[in-house]
C-alpha cells in the first residue's frame, strides 16, 4: 500500500518536477515568470491526442509532435512577451504571460471544443508485483522519463557550450552580451526548451486524466509551489522538492482524505514563503528592510 502510494507519488512528482524545471529555466535565463505554463501542458496533451486519433500514426510520433507544438508556441510567446517587455517592470511581464495563457486556453477551446479527449499511454498499463504491492507501469514510466529529461537538462546546462552560455545570460545578461554571447538567441532557446519540457509533461500526464483546457491548471500551480519549497533559484533543488511534494501529497491524501490533498501543496508553499522564503535548498532571498 505504502509502496504503491510512493510510486504514484513519484509519478505525479515527476510531472511537477518537469514543470518546475521548465518554469525556473525561463525565470533564471530571461527573468520571466511564465504564468501560462498550464496552457503549454494543455497544448502538448491536445496536439498529441488529436494526432494520435488519426489512424496509422504511431504514438511516439504523436507525442513528439505534441512536444514540438508546445515548443513552437513557446518561441512565438517569447516574441510577444519577453521581447517587447524586457525593459518594462516585471509586473507587465507577469500580466503579459497571464494574457498569453488566456489566449491559448480560449484558442484551444475554439479548436478542440469542450468535450474531453483521451491519449493512450506510450507503455501498456500493466500492474507489476513489487514487494507485495501492485505498481502501475504507467507510473513507473512517467517517473523514469521525467528523471531522464531533468538529468538531460541539468547536463545540458552544466556540460555544454550552449548550457554555459545560458548560465552566463542568467547571471548577468549585459556582461554575457559583451562577452559575445547572443543573449537574444539564448533566451529564445530557453523558451523553446522550457515549453518543450512542459509539453512533454502534458503528453505524460494525459493518460492519467482526460484532456480538457483545464488539464494543466492545478499541476502547474503545484509546480510553482514546488519551486518555492525547493528554492527559487535552484533547478535540481526545485526538482527534488517536486518529487517530495508528489510523495507527501499522495501519502497525505491517503491519511487526511483526498478532499484536503490539494490544499497540502499550497499550505506548504505559503508556510515556506512565510518561514523560509529561500526554500529548502536556496540561498537567502529576503530583502533587508
Amino acid at each position: 500500500m505504502i509502496i504503491q502510494s510512493v510510486v504514484s507519488g513519484l509519478a505525479v512528482g515527476g510531472i511537477y518536477a518537469l514543470l518546475a524545471v521548465a518554469f525556473l529555466l525561463t525565470y533564471r535565463v530571461a527573468g520571466v515568470l511564465n504564468f501560462a505554463q498550464a496552457e503549454f501542458v494543455m497544448i502538448g496533451a491536445f496536439v498529441a491526442s488529436s494526432v494520435a486519433a488519426v489512424a496509422g500514426v504511431p504514438l511516439v510520433a504523436a507525442a513528439l509532435l505534441g512536444i514540438g507544438a508546445a515548443a513552437v508556441v513557446g518561441v512565438l510567446m517569447e516574441r510577444v512577451t519577453y521581447r517587447p517587455l524586457r525593459n518594462a517592470p516585471h509586473a507587465s511581464m507577469i500580466i503579459s504571460t497571464v494574457a498569453v495563457g488566456i489566449i491559448l486556453q480560449q484558442a484551444a477551446h475554439l479548436i478542440w471544443g469542450p468535450n474531453p479527449r483521451s491519449l493512450p499511454s506510450l507503455v501498456p498499463n500493466v500492474s507489476l508485483d513489487i514487494l507485495g504491492s501492485r505498481v502501475s507501469t504507467v507510473s513507473l514510466f512517467i517517473f523514469v522519463v521525467s528523471i531522464v529529461l531533468i538529468i538531460g537538462v541539468t547536463l545540458l546546462l552544466s556540460r555544454t557550450r550552449l548550457g554555459r552560455q545560458m548560465q552566463a545570460t542568467a547571471v548577468d545578461a549585459d556582461t554575457a552580451q559583451l562577452m559575445g554571447i547572443r543573449t537574444g538567441q539564448i533566451v529564445v532557446i530557453a523558451f523553446a526548451i522550457s515549453t518543450a519540457l512542459t509539453g512533454a509533461a502534458g503528453v505524460l500526464v494525459a493518460p492519467m486524466f482526460s484532456v480538457t483546457v483545464h488539464v494543466g491548471m492545478l499541476i502547474a500551480l503545484k509546480a510553482f509551489a514546488a519551486c518555492v519549497i525547493g528554492g527559487f533559484g535552484n533547478l535540481p533543488g526545485a526538482a527534488v522538492a517536486a518529487f517530495g511534494l508528489g510523495i507527501v501529497e499522495n501519502l497525505g491524501g491517503s491519511f487526511i482524505g483526498s478532499d484536503s490533498k490539494d490544499l497540502l501543496a499550497f499550505a506548504l508553499m505559503i508556510g515556506f514563503l512565510l518561514l523560509r522564503p529561500q526554500g529548502i535548498f536556496g540561498a537567502k532571498v529576503g530583502e533587508k528592510l
Binding site: I94, S96, L110, F232, F266, M269, E287
Partner: protein
Amino acid sequence: MSNLTTQSSERALTPAPRMQPNGTVSRVASWLIWPALLVLAVGLGLGIDNNYWLQVTVNAEIMVIATVGLYVTFGLSGQVSLGQAAFFAIGGYSVGLLVTKLSMDFGLAMVIGVLLSAIVGLALGIPALRLKGHYLALATLGFGQVVALILVNWTWLSGGATGVSGITAPLFGSFELVTVSDWAVFIGIFAVLAIFVVHRVKNSSYGRAMQAVRDSDVAAAAMGVSLSAVKVLAFVIGAAFAGLAGALNAGFTTYISPGTYNLALSVSLLAMVVVGGATSHWGAVIGAVLLTFLPELLRPIQDYYLLLYGVLLLIMVAFVPGGIWGVILGIGRYVGRLTGIRRRREKTELDLLKGEES
C-alpha cells in the same frame, strides 16, 4: 542645519503639480467632480429603468471599488497581487455567513467583512512583502488557491460547492434595501467614496511614499521611507477594498458560491487596472467600467470574447503601457499643445507687426 530642515519641510508642504489634461483646472473645479460623481451615481441608480442594465451598472460599481483598491497595491506601489479574489471571497462569505447563520444586520456584517479582509491582508502581507516583487505574485496566487479550495472543501463552514443562499438582511435595524434601485444608489455612493479615498491616499504623503517605493525602492529607503510599512499599507488597502466589494456583492446578489472567487476574477481585476491605466485611479475606474460592460456588449460573439480579452490585455501591456487613461492624457496634451502653438504663433505675428510699426 536647522535652516536646511525647515527649507526641505517647506518644500514637502507645497503641493506637487497635478497632471491635468488641459493644463490649469482650478481647485474649485477639481473639488466639484466629487458631488458631480455622487449625483451621477445616485442618478444612475434611480434613472436606469431597465433592470438588466441596472444590474450590470451595479456590478461595474462593485468592480470599481475592488479595482481602485488594487490600484493602490499595484499602480501606486507596484506590488502584483494575483489573489484579490480571495479577499473578495472573505468579504462575501463573512457577510453571507454572519447574515444567514447569526442573523446579523447587513451593515454590521459588511464592516466585519471588510475588517476581516484587512486583517488577513495584513497577516499575509507582513511576511510576504519582505520578499522581492514576484514572490508576492506567487504568494498571493497560492493564497487564492488555498481560499478557493477551502470554500469548496470545508463544507461545514462555507456550505461547500452549493454556497450560501438567502443572504437578505436589513441594513441597520428596520432600514432595508429592497429594490435593485436601492442597492444601486447604496453601492454607487460607496463606489464614489472609494474613488475619493484612493484619490486622497494618492495625494497624501503615504501615496507619494508608495510611488517612490514603486519607482525605486533603494532610493525611497535612502530617503527614509519605511519600505515594509508602505508596502504593507498598500497591500492592506487593496485587500480591504476587495473585501468591501465582495461584501457588497454578496448583499446585492443574496447568493454566493465558490465558483465566483477563482483565479479568473483576480486576473480580471488586474486586467482592469492595466487596461484602464495603472498610472491613475481614474484609469482603474475606466478599466473597471469598460471591462464590466464589454462582455455584456459582446454577448453576440461570446465564444470569442475571452480570446479578444486576452489579445486586448497583451496589446495594452506591450504597446500601451499607460492604458486608456494614458491615451486620454496624451490626446489632451496633444490638443493642448496644438492650441498652445497657435496662441504662440499669433503672439509672434503680433510682435512682428509691432516691429514693422516701429
